[in-house]
Subunit: 218 residues, 2 copies
């Protein structure tokens, strides 16, 4: 049984949408461990809390170190601290979850030990990180139902089709396009930009902007 005081770490589950064989899927970046324990396993970005940074700043640093990106949404998820966690030394981890925009969601620092994986096809993870990812995925699905969290995963201007693809990626199932369009238009959280998507041949789809994106940034 651990007799040392617990040490404090901060980890971040980072979600972004990427294409995976023609289908948009939720992905997250992992870091390969270069020391024991769990040497060589993939793990969530994270590390010890520094004395001069807030919990949130530590979560933001995880994100910047891994991807070089800013979060479009950043929120505390849960704190994990089982007695045998991180054995031999007990580690209490405050976990955040972050969303980054689709168009940059594959970005990583130039580091062979960082890579993005689809959440439904993860490699074996270090420590209790599979459980933590499970928590984060449930939170993301939940929040999709009662917030406009999906807007944080999209570029500044997007089509209703792109918005639907984000919802489908998170829920892991197809949604009826006409129903989805009706509900999205009725949500009061989208403004048409007046422009249309470039490149489409006939009837190019209209572009929208989120009216609530700024609130998501907090």
């Amino acid at each position: 049984m651990a007799e040392q005081p617990a040490s404090v770490a901060v980890s971040t589950v980072i979600f972004g949408i990427q294409d995976h064989g023609g289908t948009a899927k939720v992905h997250l970046p992992l870091v390969r461990r270069v020391r024991e324990p769990h040497l060589g396993r993939w793990a969530l970005p994270g590390g010890p809390l520094r004395p001069d940074e807030s919990l949130r700043d530590a979560a933001r640093r995880n994100l910047a170190d891994t991807t070089g990106l800013d979060a479009a949404h950043l929120e505390q998820l849960y704190t994990f601290g089982a007695v045998d966690r991180g054995a031999p030394d007990r580690v209490v981890s405050i976990v955040y979850w972050a969303l980054v925009r689709t168009e940059v969601a594959a970005t990583t620092r130039d580091d062979p030990n960082v890579a993005w994986f689809p959440v439904d096809a993860l490699p074996p993870l270090a420590f209790d990180h599979e459980e933590i990812v499970g928590w984060a995925v449930r939170r993301l699905k939940n929040k999709l139902g009662y917030t406009q969290i999906s807007h944080a995963l999209l570029p500044e201007e997007f089509t209703l089709g792109q918005l639907r693809e984000v919802h489908e990626a998170i829920l892991g199932r197809r949604l009826d396009p006409a129903n989805f369009r009706r509900r999205a238009e009725a949500s009061g959280t989208l403004t048409p930009t007046g422009a249309h998507q470039a490149g489409a041949r006939n009837r190019p789809p209209a572009l929208y902007r989120s009216t609530v994106r700024e609130e998501l940034l907090t």
Copy 2:
């Protein structure tokens, strides 16, 4: 700026319903500090995480030490860890919130430094505990809207009037009795026991039992 590693504490916001001048109100127990810093101020029950207990067990211990009670609901709220928190030494506090049943909600250990207060009339609190109570109250109000969390505050058998009083206490406003009754009966989470409240003179109100209480106990 702190240079020591942060130490880990667990605190618990405990809610119970008590009568306050004829009106049911949400109350919580506080502990008067008997050492510096903030000597003499009221504070949330809590203290350092012990090496051999889980976070949840530490939260349960706060509850038992303060009230001698078991929680009818116990859930992690949030982790607070600002750089200057607990100065001079940085303390990261994992905060839980608990609900206890109405009929025992005034219970405390025989200790002059423990007392229950209405949440809308708290004394000045130590550290950032006012902010923490604010978070817990918002979480409680939120969960009232989409769960049957209110059942955890009631005795095993209760009337619809008692259930409404709990909702009114949490929301801080009166609810229409007929509407409330209709929605409660339609919720599918209450079973009539067949018995009626003792003591009432005419038309004694029917007693109900929660069908979801067990789920709340987790």
